[in-house]
């Protein structure tokens, strides 16, 4: 028995230290790798500006990407209004920033519908496409969405409400949270655009 314990204890210690290494180093490392992949992947959508929207579109200039839908009661209009305020506050510095509003509701959000909806905020491009391609984009950006049936034949969409910021190499930098403090949001944008 003592012989067996002599094996079990070091074996246990080995497992424990392996777990510690995983938690302390490997897991955050892998998570970071995943974060760097945000927005990358195979999806092919269309913008209200007539240009395709694929992972390649994130290259070349900094972007802010938000997922939402036109039948959204509160979060999407608020975020669009916030984006208009950011642009106003940033002035010329914002001219480099591209803003994409990707629908989680391709069933209702046609290009026309989206174009009219985002059109009043300068430079915001609405993005839609086939449902399967939208799902692929959600996966690439790690966006959660779910269709929720309502009465009267209506439905709504639960969805992630972060504005995701990408640098001019198409690399994810950081998110701006829903109704994040204006000064903090502007600081993030100024960092991105500097």
């Amino acid at each position: 028995m003592p012989g067996l314990l002599r094996i079990i204890i070091p074996a246990g210690a080995l497992v424990a230290s392996a777990v510690l290494v995983w938690l302390a180093w490997l897991q955050p490392y892998l998570a970071e790798q995943d974060v760097l992949k945000l927005g990358h992947g195979d999806y092919s959508l269309i913008g209200t500006d007539g240009q395709p929207f694929t992972a390649a579109r994130l290259q070349g200039a900094p972007s802010a990407v938000f997922f939402g839908f036109t039948h959204c009661p509160e979060v999407c209009p608020t975020t669009l209004g916030d984006i208009a305020v950011w642009q106003d506050e940033l002035g010329d510095a914002a001219s480099d920033l591209r803003v994409f509003f990707v629908t989680v509701d391709p069933e209702r959000d046609t290009t026309e519908m989206l174009g009219d909806y985002v059109g009043w905020v300068p430079g915001v491009v609405g993005v839609t496409g086939d449902a399967a391609e939208i799902r692929a984009a959600e996966k690439a950006f790690r966006i959660y969405s779910r269709k929720i049936p309502l009465s009267d034949g209506e439905y709504t969409m639960d969805h992630s409400a972060l504005v995701l910021l990408f640098d001019d190499n198409g690399r994810f930098v950081e998110p701006i949270g829903y109704q994040e403090d204006l000064d903090r949001a502007l600081a993030k944008l100024r960092r991105l655009l500097s």
Binding site: L80, G81, A84, A161
Partner: protein
Amino acid sequence: MKNLMKFAALLMFLGAPAMADDKMSMMQEVTVGPLTLSDGFAHATLPNQPVAGGFVTITNTGEAADTLIAVQSDLAGVMQIHEMAMQDDTMVMRELDGGLIVPAGETVTLEPGGLHLMFMQLNGPLIDGEDVTVTVTFQDAGDVELTLPVRKKMHGGHGMSHDGDS
């Protein structure tokens, strides 16, 4: 022309909200049975926004609970009673299937970010400064008409920062 329209649209959001407090029109308080409805308003729609939210505070001074079971407006093909919430970074919204209970002696507040009257299938825009009439129906107290002033939303995080730290 298009740019001019965009500019005008932007002004809807950036225009002088500092004056909103003193100029903000309030809903005429109404009572129905033991219920008092006050501080109602609706959010102005964005250009081409097909839905909108309405809000009101309901106080029940009676001895028994009542339930808000329906709401309607000429401006909306469908109106429902909803609750929305942010769960972590996700927006979730649900219909209150059995209506909204207002317990005896209590006040229930419908406000942005939470409980709301949801305007759907809008026939037209809700315009800042105008009114929208809705009829709400309580199980016991019955119908009552509300005239909700339409107000634009505040933007840029917690209110506007254009006036410094006001």
